[in-house]
């Protein structure tokens, strides 16, 4: 789906940078054995639709190698609980995240999960209006 590719493009680039940053940092600092917190969202659909045969949905797929994921049915027919956390323990986190959103990788992963859910549920990632500096050009 061409539209999907275009819509997730911006995240794709930053996510690859983030993965690289995380690897560099792990190589430098070693790995903290304490696991980071799981970030979880509930998504409409069954686990095999959300995470078909272990194939990660966009834009989560771009974090392959940097995070681990699981999916399980949510109680009460609420869909699927989709969880993600960084590989490599806590010391990997600041570098992983600082590149994108300061010192809060949880926030970054929650945003990735929100966009994953938007894409699965609506077929698109909802884009913000363009702010005036984004968009030079004449007003009508």
């Amino acid at each position: 789906m061409a539209r999907t590719g275009r819509l997730v493009g911006a995240l794709t680039r930053t996510a690859r940078d983030a993965v690289a940053a995380a690897r560099r940092r792990r190589a430098r600092a070693g790995t903290d054995p304490r696991p980071a917190r799981w970030q979880v969202v509930t998504v409409t659909g069954r686990p095999e639709q959300v995470l078909p045969a272990g194939r990660w949905p966009e834009p989560l797929r771009r974090l392959d190698g940097a995070v681990e994921v699981w999916a399980r049915p949510a109680p009460g027919g609420r869909g699927t609980e989709l969880a993600v956390r960084p590989l490599g323990g806590r010391t990997a986190l600041p570098g992983f995240a600082a590149h994108l959103v300061g010192d809060d990788p949880g926030r970054f992963l929650r945003q990735v999960l929100r966009e994953t859910r938007q894409l699965l549920e609506t077929g698109e990632v909802l884009r913000a209006d363009r702010s005036p500096p984004d968009r030079p050009g004449a007003a009508r």
């Binding site: 926030r107 970054f108 938007q118 549920e121 909802l126 209006d129 005036p132 009508r140």
Partner: protein
């Protein structure tokens, strides 16, 4: 295009800004014909919303004509006249499928759309982009995301001046009556005789309430509420509101009490709520009958101190909130408007060109010259 922009605390101006454009396949672009001031804008106007950025376009209540549709839009065509609900909701997530469109999971965009108190609710027009909001409708054109979910064709027999109140004020009032579970024979008290308070009173009557009492301190608003909704006016400057409500409900207290007073106007009072913050809510909790329901509409008072929790627990009250109604009731409200059962145009006490938007908001904020709502035409 021209648009009414927030320039900083207390400052609005009409500016040239870039036209909106389609950003998602479910978007459409609407040429605005009418837009309305709302009390929900006042905290932002006063500078009490730290996420606001200068240049953002205000306004979440508007009506207009479709001029462009995205490839996935099915229910609308170019030239359709539509009213657009204030909440931006996807229609597909679990909350939307439960009918809780104002709680939509997918209605905001951007990395910062994560409030301190948990998950983001539906998006909204005319709210800061840093809170996941979208450019507002006080403009010549506006982008409408999830157009099939939030926009509704206006029946031919309903004119713009009536239909524009189906964007937010009428759904908010309907939502208030529904949240309160208003049933035939109920006594309902509503704090605030602004547009939402009046339309809550009208919705309570439509739900079969036996008595509806509206509490305010502005004569003109109380008279308007009495004339157009059949509600009984109570001026809290001249009567003991709690004693009156007890007397008028056979000593029981109203079955449903709705706080539609909205956020306090005036200068910055963040944080803390200020001297008026929560006064109507406290009175509603004290007035409500045992086992009754207190509904808090309207936002703006993010924190309210001295909340009478003991009255809630002692009397077994239900307290329900809803600062945004969601678009679910809009088609039924438009039908009621078409049948003449819901009349709203009198709420537009001031009609101005968009170029005088700053004047319109000043009148509205100060409740000057009997202003209930100012309606703008671009």
């Amino acid at each position: 295009m021209r648009a009414l922009c927030w320039e900083g605390a207390g400052a609005l101006a009409v500016r040239q800004v870039p036209d909106p454009e389609l950003r998602n396949a479910h978007d459409m672009i609407v040429r605005v014909r009418r837009s309305v001031t709302c009390g929900g804008d006042l905290p932002l106007l006063a500078g009490r919303v730290p996420e606001a950025a200068a240049g953002e376009v205000l306004g979440h209540e508007f009506l207009g004509e479709v001029v462009e549709v995205g490839p996935e839009v099915r229910r609308h065509r170019v030239t359709d006249r539509v009213v657009v609900g204030a909440a931006v909701a996807c229609g597909a997530c679990w909350f939307c499928r439960q009918g809780l469109l104002a709680c939509c999971d997918n209605g905001t965009s951007g990395t910062a759309a994560e409030p301190e108190w948990g998950q983001p609710a539906a998006g909204c027009y005319g709210r800061p982009a840093r809170l996941g909001g979208f450019a507002g409708g006080h403009a010549e054109f506006v982008r409408v995301p999830y157009a099939d979910v939030g926009a509704f064709a206006v029946p031919e027999e309903v004119d713009d001046d009536r239909a524009v109140f189906a964007a937010d004020a009428a759904p908010a009032g309907w939502h208030g009556a529904e949240l309160g579970g208003v049933a035939p024979g109920d006594v309902v008290a509503v704090w605030g005789a602004g547009a939402v308070g009046q339309l809550t009173a009208a919705a309570a009557v439509a739900h079969g309430a036996a008595r509806v009492i509206v509490v305010d301190e502005h004569d003109d608003r109380l008279r308007m509420a009495a004339r157009h909704t059949g509600a009984e006016p109570l001026d809290h400057r001249s009567v003991d509101v709690l004693a009156e409500l007890r007397e008028r409900s056979g000593g029981r207290g109203p079955d449903v009490c709705v706080d539609a007073a909205g956020p306090p106007p005036g200068p910055a009072r963040w944080p803390g709520g200020g001297p008026d913050g929560g006064a109507a809510l406290r009175e509603a909790v004290h007035a409500c009958r045992k086992g009754g329901t207190v509904v808090v509409l309207g936002g703006g008072s993010a924190f309210v101190d001295r909340f009478p929790l003991g009255a809630v627990t002692d009397k077994g009250l239900a307290v329900r909130g809803g600062s945004r109604a969601g678009p679910r009731a809009i088609p039924a409200l438009l039908d009621r408007m078409a049948r003449g059962e819901l009349v709203t145009e009198h709420l537009a006490t001031h009609r101005l060109p968009l170029d005088r938007g700053a004047d319109g908001y000043a009148l509205f904020r100060d409740r000057a010259d009997g202003c209930v709502r100012a309606v703008f035409t671009p």
